[in-house]
Structures are given as C-alpha cells and as structure tokens.
C-alpha cells in the first residue's frame, strides 16, 4: 500500500454519510468533536438531480450499478448464489434519504418487547430489544423537529405516547389518499396521513416542498424535501468540524495490539490508499455494508472479522418486503401526483393479535403502483407488448393505486449477510452475499394483510382488484436490519444497548444493523433517532473525560 499522505488523527471517524452517519455527524460536531466522514460514494448536490425517470429508475443514476457494486442472493446455503440488485440504496452522501420519499412512522412500545408479547415463533430468533420506546421517544421528537416532518399527532390511534406533535401539518391530500380514507372509514378502520419527510409549510428557513411527480426514487433538485443531504449534512458542516470526504471507500478497519480500532484504511477517488486514525469509529454504511466491512476487517485478534467472535455479524438479517393489493377505479386517481407516495396510512393491522394466526403485523399505506410513472407503471395482468398492452396503459395509467404493506419479516439465524468469495466489486473486494429464506409467519402475514388491503380497495369502490402476495424476500424495500444485533448478552448479540461492540469498546454501529427485529414500519426515522441517541451518549462521555473514551465501557 502506498501512503499518499497520512491525515491528522480525528476524534471520531464515521463511515458512511447517509441517514445514520449524517445524524451522528450533526450531533457530535455540534458537541464540539472533530469528525472525519468517509463516504464511499460521490457528494451530489441538488443541482445534479432532475425529474428523469429513465436515469433514476432504469439506469442506476442513484442506485448502485450492479456491474460496479454487485450483490449476490441465494435462498439457502445449498443453492448457488446469483447476482441480484438486492436492497438497492444510493451509495452517496445522503444515502437512502436521497432516493426516498420519506415515510417516517414511529415504532410502537410493543415493537421493543415483541417476544414478551407474542413469544418466539419456531425457527425464528425473535427477541425483545435491550431498549424501550421510552429510551428512543425523545430522539424521535428531535429528528421530527429537525426535519420538519409533516404529520398529525394523535390521529393514528395505535401510536405510542408522544412528547410533542409534528412540527408541520400534514401534506395536501392526494386522490389515492382520499380513496384510502373512504375505504377505511366504511370498514371502521383508523387511518391517518403518513408522516413524511417533506414540508407542508416554510420551516427553519426552508421552503414548502415542491410536489413533483419525480420524487420516489429521485433525488430532489429543489432541496425542499427533508433528507440527511438537505438537513443534517449542512448542520454538521456549519460547525466547521465535519471533514466530509466523498469517494473514499473504506476497505478495512485496522485494530491495534489490544484489539481496539486504530484506523480506517480507505481508497480515495484516485485509487490511493489512506489511513485515517481516530479515537472512536462509527459504522453507518447500512446493515448490509456495515456487516460486510466488519467481515472484511480480519486480523489475528479477529480471524472471523471485527467484533465477530460470536459469529453473529451478518446473521438475523431482515429486509421487509413491499407488496400490495392494486385497485382499478372508474374515476381518475393520478397516482403519480406528488410522486405516488404522498400517502395515507393505517396501523389497524400493526399490533400483534394472536387471533390472526401469525405474529406481529405491519404498516399499510396507499400509494401509486410500484413507481407510478410512465415507464415503470404496470398492472399485474398487463401483457408485455401489443395492442392490449397499449390499451391497458391508456385506460388504466391514471386509474389505479395500490395499498402496500411493509412486511415484518421474522429474524432467523440462517438469514444472513456474508462475503461472497466468488464475486468481487470493481475495487477487488468480495461482495455481500445474502442468504434469505422467507419464514412461514411472513407468508401468512403477507396473505392476510394483502386480503385486508384488497377489502379496503373494494370498500373504496375499486371495480377490479389484484392481490399480489409476497412469496420471497426480494430486497425491494431497500430496508435492512439486524446484522449487528444489539442486546445485553454478548453470546447472543454483537452490540450492547449503546450499539457499542461487546468485543471492541471504541467501535459502534449506528445504522439499522443493531435492530434486533425489523418491525412492520419504515425504519429510517428510528435509525436516525437511534443514531442521535448513540451520538449523544458518545458525545457526553467524550466531553466529560477525553481520556476515558480510550476505554469506553457501557
């Protein structure tokens, strides 16, 4: 390795500048710490985005190019893994918050104690979290108020107690949202405007969100949507203590003779290798890539990968699955309005109810069908070509919407992320190999909830309904959790409740990796709230006694 230059030692290195990394960078720099941010992807400014469906949805403008950054998938260890675009998240400053439309529901109290409530279904590793809703609640409020989340507290009758309302009222109602409310009202279901990372009113010097059709899976050229890129990165930079280095791909975290993290070795945009030392290391690469980086960081002290004495790094991976019932209506819906995901939600099927015959439940919401834009819209029974296909486009493009579900897939020991020694990325490193077999509980939940969604569409007046039952976990949500489980017992978890590695006291994982369960709700609000919580903890410890950080213990 050629050392181009050795940069000055930092207080903290945060690997990844997405939802969790940007949150932690904001919190730690505002507390006076010097943070180096290492982001493998580019730093794209809002001027580089536009309403270009072809580029963003079909040509990997935001998603990882599978030629450069492939992943492989197999259902079980006996099957051969093949390259798939599994769980694509933009690898760039802002991460997944660049391409999202930002549904930000909170988890509920029971999400943190599901094993206590529902038991542990056979074949799963379902556990309670080592923290409670009460631990995370103040941080939910902090993120919601930093972002200016638009929503209506108190309307979702299943939400847990809030210390404050949403800072902005709900976004304008879409026609698909209104249909959903009608259907729910007829069936006696509670429904509420999906809390969203967008501004319904001017907020903190930012303008009201522009309601383009190109939002879901598109970067925001106006900077009016709330994201790590538009809020937390600027907050961190304002302190003058955030040294954000894009196009810097960390290959390995090096440990010293005591088994503590010493440095991150990364390749910069010129291909040169640089070693960055720091007191504390935070991983926020997403649950797949953080696990991969730990597994890549082998040493004599950690021959199976950093902090992986338990062989749990990469295991218990959960990804959700998005599936939906799709309704066709006589009157126009224009489900591309607002990008298709200015949504309406219900938690009616969220809490566990043993009468349903499966454990837990999930968030449902009304949205466009898939990406409801001209190229990528479709219906389940649409032929690929010919006069009939054209007729279906013409008749139904403006007359359909979906009620989707965020499937709460159960954690399982054998569902895991490993290194694929047969496939390397464009930098020569083994890629992440996903092994994932859907659990019977997931299948049951999927069928049951899709049937309920279909009933809501019927009550809303759909003249035709398609039910699409999930049959595998395909990674189509981009959500990822569980690969570095937090828990109190080092034998059954990788991290403690502060998301600090049991085996390495100056190593923290701050993305969805620590989540012991995926829950049935969109994870990023909780990822950011948890990253804030951890950063607060580190900042307080560090500032009270810098030396003590050298031996941070929980």
């Amino acid at each position: 390795m050629v050392q181009k230059r050795k940069p000055e030692r930092a207080d903290i290195v945060i690997i990844g500048a997405g939802a969790s990394g940007a949150t932690a960078a904001k919190v730690l720099t505002e507390q006076g710490l010097r943070v180096v941010g290492l982001e493998r992807g580019p730093w794209r400014k809002r001027e580089t985005f536009s309403g270009d469906e072809l580029a963003n949805v079909n040509r990997y403008n935001l998603w990882p190019d599978p030629i450069l950054n492939p992943r492989t998938y197999r259902e079980s260890a006996s099957k051969e893994a093949k390259i798939e675009l599994f769980c694509p998240v933009p690898q760039m400053v802002g991460g997944g918050t660049v391409h999202w439309q930002g549904w930000l529901p909170r988890f509920t109290e029971n999400d943190f104690r599901l094993q206590t409530i529902a038991g542990q279904p056979s074949g799963t590793t379902l556990v309670d979290w080592p923290i409670s809703y009460r631990d995370i609640e103040p941080y939910y409020t902090k993120v919601e108020w930093a972002f200016g989340v638009s929503g209506a507290g108190g309307v979702n009758k299943y939400e847990s107690a809030r210390s404050d309302d949403y800072p902005c009222p709900p976004l304008p109602t879409t026609r698909y949202g209104r249909k959903f409310y009608e259907g729910c009202r007829k069936l006696g279901y509670n429904a509420f405007p999906t809390p969203m990372a967008a501004l319904s009113r001017p907020y903190n010097g930012r303008q009201v969100t522009v309601q383009s059709a190109f939002a879901q899976q598109h970067g925001d050229p106006t900077g009016t949507r709330s994201s790590a890129l538009s809020v937390f990165i600027p907050d961190a930079l304002k302190t003058g203590r955030y040294d954000l280095r894009p196009d810097c791909y960390v290959h390995e975290i090096v440990v010293d003779q005591h088994g503590r993290c010493k440095s991150a070795v990364y390749q910069d945009v010129d291909g040169d290798f640089i070693e960055q030392e720091a007191d504390v290391f935070l991983l926020g690469c997403g649950a797949i890539e953080s696990a991969r980086l730990l597994l890549l960081s082998k040493s004599s002290r950690f021959p199976r990968g950093l902090a992986n004495g338990s062989d749990l790094v990469g295991r218990n991976a959960t990804f959700h699955e998005y599936s939906a019932a799709v309704g066709v209506f006589d009157d126009p819906i224009y489900a591309w309005a607002g990008g298709g995901y200015v949504a309406a939600s219900s938690f009616e099927f969220y809490e566990h109810d043993e009468k349903r015959g499966f454990v837990s439940g999930c968030h449902i919401a009304a949205a466009g069908v898939g990406i409801p834009l001209p190229i990528n819209w479709s219906l389940p029974d649409r032929p690929l070509w010919g006069a009939q296909a054209k007729q279906i486009d013409r008749d139904y493009f403006n007359h359909t919407f979906a009620i989707g579900m965020v499937l709460h897939d159960m954690p399982q020991h054998e569902n895991r992320v490993e290194l694929d020694e047969k496939v390397t990325d464009a930098w020569g490193l083994p890629v992440a190999r996903i092994t994932n077999k859907i659990h019977e509980n997931d299948l049951k939940m999927g069928r049951w909830v899709i049937d309920r969604n279909a009933e809501i569409l019927g009550a809303a007046g759909a003249k035709k309904i398609h039910r699409v039952y999930p049959d595998r976990i395909s990674g189509n949500c981009s959500h990822q959790h569980g690969t570095t489980r937090m828990g109190d017992d080092p034998k059954t978890s990788v991290l403690n409740k502060w998301c600090q590695a049991h085996e390495v006291d100056n190593l923290f994982v701050i993305d969805g990796g620590p989540f012991p369960t995926g829950t049935g709700a969109n994870p990023t609000l909780t990822i950011m709230a948890n990253a804030w919580r951890i950063a607060d903890y580190i900042g307080a410890r560090y500032n009270s006694d810098r030396k003590s950080l050298q031996s941070l213990q929980s």
Binding site: T48, P172, T222, W377
Partner: protein, 217 residues
Amino acid sequence: MATFFNSHQRATIEAAMARIIPTDDQPGAREANTIEFLDRYLSGVDFIYARPDGSGFEKLERKRADAWRQRIAILRTKYVEGIKELDQKSASRFGAEFVFLTGNQQDHTLTDMERGTAPGPAAFEAQATVGPVEPALQQTSAEIDLDFFQLLTLHTRQGFYSDPIYGGNKDRIGWKLIGFAGPESLAETHAGRFTTLPFFAEEEVDWTQEKNHGSKT
C-alpha cells in the same frame, strides 16, 4: 448523431417496435421515434444520462464510464444476435425476413420469440424492469441479464415514455396517450417549476377534528 444499427438492423427493430406499441387510432412506437431512442442508447456512452437541466448529456468518467461501456457492449451483442434470430424465425415460417412480413406475421414471429424466453424465476424477476409483474416498490433486475425479446419490449417502452430529451417520446406522444401531465422539459423539474398539485384531491381533510386518539406524555 452517432448511431449503432446498420440500415437493415434499424428497419427490423423499428418494425418490431411498431408491433410492440402499435399505431391504432392514436400514435404508437413508430410515431414516437423509439428507434431513435434505442439507436442512440446503443451508440456508446454519450447518451446515458441527460444533464439535469436538460442542456445536453453527462460525460461519464472513470469506473462509471467503464461499467457503461461494458453494459452497452453486452446489449449490442444481444441485439445483433436477436435480429438474426428474428430473421431466421421469419424466414423458416413465412419465407422472408422480418421487415417484409405483414403485421400479423410479425406478431406471430414475436410471439415465437416471447415463448422462447426461458420461464422461471429469472424471467419473472426480469419483467420487473419492463414494468413490474408484481408491483414491486423499486425492484429492477440487472438489465444485462435480460434476453433480446425482453430488452426489445423494455427499450420500446422506455423510448415511448421517457423524457423526450432521450430521442423518443416525440412531441410527448407517449405521455399524451396515457394522460401523464409531464413537464415541458427537464429544466422545469430541475428548477422546481413543475408541480402536480392540480392533480391532488380537491378537498382537504380537517385533521384537527381527528386528533383525539393519541396521548401526550
């Protein structure tokens, strides 16, 4: 403008596209100029990403450019081979190359090609790119894993419905057909002037009347 196809290849694909999105009482792929869209795409890496303000195309660099060169080379091979197969099937069944067949005969040949598409999980996933068989939120399989017929239907659709800057969707024919009130230009989206608010619901919900469920700590 750089192009890839020779005149026979271009005529063949243009004819096939005209069956994939046929012209009826309203324009189809031929009028939308989807062939120009595809020929440009396969010409190299100069037309992969429009500049966000619509002022031209991005110049790709480094690994990104390498990856696209690889991808385009793979796609070119699939098209060249696919056109040969289309002509062979046409000749063995109807005694002439594809471009000389009637519309019905062309449909028969395309149906043959479609049947030749291997079923199974790979094909199922692959269709997610064309327009999801399942309404996956954002799943697309790798474009280079698709076979010729799948690519042809995918690229016809892309050429018909993508922003006109890419050479197809001439006069926004595709968008008009389905009633998509798309932007006048990419620049409109880039500047934040494009809005879909007129297509939201006409009446608002008064949520202040509903806020009686949750409790405050």
